[in-house]
Subunit: 416 residues, 2 copies
């Protein structure tokens, strides 16, 4: 059962929003052993949407569509779907009564613009929108299933989870995808490849290995495309273990998790409290740490100290140190770790100080210079990086390499 995705929206082609929906849809399908074979993004144009539906329907049995269901004149998905299927666009009574009930609950008046959302191709079934006003539709036409969902991320996700996936699972399908993912740290992609490629060359043809490089880490994904009858998870596990064994010293975590998840596990297992003191990363490290559910069990708290006097008053960084060495220095990040251990009564602390750019650079400390450190009562490990990118990317890199640095520090201390 081939599934394709059509994303509708000028704003995505123009880059005014990043298409996070497509990733989320991919994840949710993958969790059920399904995969998207092809994804097409088109603008808010009747003709482009229709042409897109035609291209995808050539090879796919199920065509998911996201976006273009809202109330405004640039929302054209239902009209394009009706045109493609050669059906009239009609107001659906169920969709209308759902919308009226929702507006009443919210205590909001009905306007004609909102009622536009209730028009759909004749014969389409309503997929109720639990999170917003635009209903989705399920349309079976010419041996294919066309499923229109709103583009607003949480509306889409809720509709996909509660309405679409259970119905998709009832359709007959032939193969399933199974995956295992390994997170590695501190090794470049081509070095990883050199270590596993002769092993990978011996894999059965239904296996595929993919490299997903990020800053400081690379994920390796091993995929098996298996028949529904013969879902040989044990075979996949055996191959995965063999690969993991080849990379032992670089393995951060098994599973499709982030380094922040693994750090949380290590801190929790060892009953360690963590604190952070961030200058150039400006809260990005604490954001990633607290993105993990249950982080309150090991994360004591953090400081974002964007000014020298704040470093002095909240972290007790000596003023003379800032004068002689500057805020972007090994001495400063070491003092910040000491301050963060103390201020938060933490067992382990980490710190960053650097020049994210575009301003603030100097010949001796150009934009992209970042000092980072980790430490505990037994000592502190500091490291300097020079990143060549823009502000946004330099912050992201400093955050990623700080988390990697903490993982190496915890391993060196024997905590994992």
């Amino acid at each position: 059962m081939k599934i394709a995705l059509l994303v509708v929206g000028d704003e995505i082609l123009l880059g005014q929003v990043t298409d996070s929906n497509a990733a989320r849809i991919g994840q949710l399908l993958y969790a059920r052993g399904l995969g998207i074979a092809e994804k097409l993004t088109v603008g808010d144009s009747l003709e482009e949407i229709r042409r897109g539906l035609g291209h995808l329907a050539e090879h796919a049995r199920v065509i998911l569509v996201s976006g273009g269901l809202g109330p405004t004149l640039d929302d054209l998905t239902q009209e394009a779907l009706a045109g493609f299927a050669g059906r009239p666009l009609v107001e659906n009574p169920e969709a209308k009564s759902n919308l009226l009930a929702l507006l009443e609950r919210r205590g909001r008046p009905v306007n004609a613009i909102q009622l536009r959302q209730c028009r759909m191709p004749e014969g389409a079934e309503v997929l109720p929108n639990a999170m917003g006003t635009a209903p989705g539709t399920w349309l079976e036409h010419d041996q294919k299933v066309f499923i229109a969902m709103p583009g607003v991320p949480y509306e889409l996700e809720t509709m996909l989870q509660n309405q679409v996936l259970p119905r998709l699972e009832r359709l007959p399908r032939s193969g399933v995808l199974l995956h295992r993912t390994l997170l590695t740290g501190g090794i470049a992609e081509s070095d990883l490849a050199a270590r596993v490629e002769s092993w990978a060359a011996g894999l059965p043809p239904e296996y595929q290995l993919a490299y997903l490089p990020a800053l400081g880490t690379v994920r390796l994904r091993l995929t098996a495309t298996l028949s529904r009858e013969r879902q040989d998870a044990a075979g996949l596990d055996a191959h995965f273990e063999a690969m993991t064994h080849l990379l032992e010293d670089a393995v951060v975590a098994r599973g499709d998790v982030g380094i922040e998840d693994r750090l949380g596990e290590i801190l929790l297992n060892n009953k360690l409290g963590l604190s952070t003191a961030e200058s150039c990363t400006g809260g990005s490290i604490s954001k990633r740490i607290t993105s993990v559910a249950g982080a309150s069990q090991y994360y004591r708290g953090g400081l974002v100290c964007y000014q020298n006097d704040v470093k002095i008053s909240t972290l007790s960084v000596p003023a003379t140190l800032l004068e002689t060495e500057g805020a972007v220095s090994e001495a400063c990040v070491r003092a910040m770790v000491e301050g963060a251990l103390d201020a938060f009564k933490a067992d382990v602390a980490m710190s960053t100080s650097g020049i994210a750019g575009p301003g603030g650079g100097s010949p001796g400390k150009p934009v992209g210079t970042v000092w980072l450190a980790c430490g505990d009562a037994a000592g502190i490990e500091a490291k300097c990086h020079h990143f060549p990118w823009d502000r946004h990317r330099n912050i992201e890199a400093a955050t990623a390499y700080s988390l990697l640095h903490l993982w190496k520090f915890l391993r060196q201390r024997g905590y994992c």
Copy 2:
């Protein structure tokens, strides 16, 4: 000159990475008056890449390809491009000498896996990769231009900026896109639409209005598709002003900026220092504030206080208040604002405390309950939200509504 984009990578279809490249490419083209007409994403498969090239080349004159240029066996773009164009795949001497020079500079040995990256369709020109090992290519074939770029975001961005865009600008083209964007806050999309649609209906046919809703804010984008000879920016500006006038009280900012950029401008203009005290948002607010270049001129710093004793020790939140009212309460966020004004010697402070989930909820304070506050020496404004989503989305919403709350607070105080 129609431009299409082909994105190659299983990891994008599977949702293991979000496709931020496509957004960035859209932004960079848009800045030069160019737009992507269509975007297709396919997996790491020779056949799928070739079929995708065929679909896009039907209507487009320029086909950008990102991804699939790396050194490993799942990188198939060059081979697919050679197959599509009916040309042999050959090792390019210029690409090879660039790669050898790069590896020598980095002090790294050459291995056979890396050399694979130097194979490209016969007749293709090399686009040097200033940030990594995989070269890009520019291939003119059958009246079309095929441009292959690496999938690693900063490699792609640098190549696009320095190599591809200057060459694209030299190709003949017919029309240009001009845009103006307005950021509105605190008004729902359909209410905005009701206020502007009769005006929008009177726009000339070359104008388009799009609504881009986000949490708490909606961007309105007015686009004109104009001929190269008659780039009537003044006409666009006049229409944009008329629209802005209709929405006056909801206008956060003119231009394609985030609310954090506008807040920075207001704080800077009024010489105000800001501090933050975050519980459930865990650093997300300070991350957004410090994403703006120059934030150090108005951002004093912030605290992430994930534990009650940290709220007491660093922000002087009274222990009795936490016992009687709990951390997720109006009294607590008010005390946090007071503590943050004091600890950071700030003029304005903001705070959050809530239950992001999945754990930690109770009947009286279910998951998604978030208190937020803003204040200065003259007083504090607090507000409670109930978000219905998962941890990630609840944190994102609490962050977005906190920034909106600060904007409203600053407006109420007459700072903007």
